[in-house]
Amino acid sequence: MKSLAGTGGLIRLILRRDRVVLPLWIVLLVAISVSYVQEYGDLFPTPESRVKYAGNAGFITLYGELSGPSLGEFVTWRLGFVPVMIGLISLLTVIRHTRVEEESGRRELLGATVVGRHAQLAAALTTVLGANLVLAVLLALGMHSQDLPLSGSVAIGLVYAGTGWFFAAVGAVAAQLTASAGTARGIAIGVLGGAYVLRAAGDTSAHTDGPLAWLSYVSPIGWAQRIHPYAQNRWWLAVVLLAVTVLLVAVAVSLAVRRDVGAGILADRLGPADGTLGSPLGLAWRLHRGLLAAWTVGFALLGLLFGGVAEGVGDMMRDDPGIQEMFQRLGGAAGLIDSFLAGVMTLVGLIASAYAVQATLRMRVEESSGRVEPVLATATSRWQWAASHLVFSLLGPAVALLAAGVAEGLAYGVAIGDVGGQLPRLIGAALAQLPAVWVLAAIAVAIIGFFPQASMASWAGPTVCILIGLVSAGVSTADWIRDISPFTHLPSLPGGSVSAGPFLVLLAIALLVGVAGLVGLRRRDLPA
């Protein structure tokens, strides 16, 4: 057990470093999940309404099939996205405390103390697996406190924890493969995305009696879902997830002994001896292209999904004369679908603002890593350097939003047989989000310009806007709070009326704040 020496100390180090984030995501995800019981119990009081709501093709693609009409089953179904988030957080946390430590060189420093070969991996996995267990227990207690049966509440805890365990182990394997944390993240997130797509394709196929239903059974997300809490409570599937997790951990350990500290199993390829890059913009393209490609693909998938769901919303309405009548009174059938699409666009815009902030913060990453020094010691001015990054934080989200608009327009247009009409409408609606996205990017520029040490505060922008968006969608919220978010001031598109005013005001704010930030950046010490 010498190879595990020091694991306890490393676990304490991880808990110390993640003392805010770790409890935060556990409590937040449990709280959201538990709150759904009351909320969706009120919204859909009868089994019939639940089955109808869950029965459309779009929702089945997103969340899978409903196992039964009881409130517990319905809430579990509607919470189908949470295990995916837990999987994502788990794999990122494991990589953060293994490969990132190695890449940064901190692992070497620790490795020279009394720390065993496998201690780092063991500590990261113990922490993440333990966190998932805590989450499962809290969730079971929370669900049970909402008068749901205890056995089913334990089972949904296992759905969450089982997914978290599996993807923590995926993260552990990915961390052994490459020397780069970024590539390890890419591999692990790719596995997660693949598992989700398999599940979505399988469930969609099953719904239409297609031949691909088996796809869900090769996806770990599909296994977790088929535990079917509050219905069959298939405990054995949780055991399968745990067993595969153990297997993956064993694979990670056996890979770890086959490599050196700092190296990966996959060797780094050699690069060119001569470069073609010769300008700040060329360098920025190299630094941003991976991020841009990933977000663009993600946004296109998001657009496809939402475009598909929109058709489902239409289905639901046609099936139910009551609802149809109600929405016709409210502004016609088109009004309902448009308001759904507009809500979706706001969500897409909010996510795009996270990309904008991430891209803007790359500037600060270049600075704090010291890589900016040799660049600024050449004939590159600070303006040119900042502009080369801002091209990507401003136009990157535009490209991603365009992809979302095109995909959504195509998916929805094909579904209702009106591509020519829907495509331009939805592209316009997607791009209309840009002024608000740019305001948040500009705020990030200003923070980097004036308070470089507090750059991470830039994330407050998207976070606050997303919170305002989520809260005000469910509960009536004071206008002044809603007005904080630039997204509140955008017209509701598609369908809403458009005037130039809000766009111009938001663009002016973005320009002012952004230019002020650049002036701050020019005047301060850099690096600082």
Binding site: P272, D274, S369, P374, T378
Partner: protein, 298 residues
């Protein structure tokens, strides 16, 4: 010819700590100027001010007859910089980084680059993440030496190099200084390197220059320590110029003497009559240690 670098009374504070506290520095065109001082003395801060990355709170700085803050971009076409801690883009190869930095400065001399890669024994195809500290430093050195510039600012450029590469570095610096007449500001802790390369040196401590001059001039600042057993009474020793810390103990004396006052002192000693004598010559190390110590500040 104007000085390549001149600063007067540079002051820079970070919060309550003063990184620079009235620094004067003069580097003549064409010389290799050693820039020495203990860790945290303000060497890197000075270089960053000279590069226009950091703005001085007070004082003036001129680089190649321009203002390093407002004329940064134009000046940077004429100078190259090697940071002490070289970080590179992990997924760019060394060759790509060299060409990128060279082009952004105004152009790369392909032949010169190939020659330097060969001499520094650097594989330019490896990704930066696979390079050791020394190899990352070589990337920055090749990028700097391969560009046609008048001034090189080198911040502890050899701290990660092996002795063989350190030798190559010395050769290259000598070449660009002797043959091409370029100016070099070399911050270093390696005294043999400074001794071999530098025409003049400036030693800074706590943000001020404590000494500046050629190495020979600085040597004269050191004192030789002498222990002697004398036959006669030691009259008049204490009155001689350049004698410090005189201790007399039963026919034995110990004292330090300024190196340029050593002759009259020795003459006086032989007049008294010497039974035995031990003298310790000044070493560069002692000089620096003495100047690095806090009480050396004048």
């Amino acid at each position: 010819m104007p000085a390549a670098i001149s600063t007067e009374g540079l002051v820079k504070s970070f919060g309550r700590t003063y990184a620079l506290d009235g620094l004067d520095l003069a580097v003549r065109t064409g010389e290799v100027h050693g820039f020495l001082g203990p860790n945290g003395a303000g060497k890197t801060t000075t270089i960053r001010i000279l590069l226009g990355m950091t703005r001085a709170d007070e004082g003036t700085a001129r680089v190649l007859d321009g203002d390093p803050w407002s004329d940064a971009t134009e000046l940077h076409r004429r100078l190259a910089y090697v940071p002490g801690d070289v970080t590179l883009w992990p997924n760019l190869s060394g060759g790509e980084a060299i060409d990128l930095l060279g082009r952004m400065r105004g152009g790369v001399d392909k032949k010169r680059k190939a020659e330097l890669l060969e001499r520094f024994d650097l594989d330019p195809r490896k990704k930066a993440r696979a390079y050791s500290k020394g190899n990352r430093q070589k990337v920055a050195l090749v990028a700097a030496f391969a560009s046609d510039v008048e001034l090189l600012l080198l911040d502890e450029p050899t701290s990660g190099l092996d002795p063989l590469m350190e030798e190559v570095f010395r050769e290259v610096v000598q070449e660009i200084s002797d043959r091409e007449g370029r100016t070099v500001l070399l911050s270093s802790h390696i005294l043999s390197e400074v001794e071999a390369l530098c025409d003049r040196v400036t030693i800074i401590r706590a943000g001020r220059a404590v000494e500046s001059g050629t190495l020979n001039e600085l040597r004269h600042l050191t004192r030789t320590s002498i222990q002697a057993e004398l036959v006669g009474p030691m009259d008049g020793l204490a009155q001689l110029n350049g004698v410090h810390d005189l201790q007399v103990d039963d026919g034995r004396v110990r004292f330090d003497v300024d190196t340029d006052e050593i002759n009259p002192v020795l003459r006086r000693l032989t007049e008294i009559g010497v039974r035995s004598l031990v003298s310790q010559p000044p070493s560069l190390e002692e000089l620096f240690l003495r100047l690095y110590e806090p009480e050396a500040v004048k």
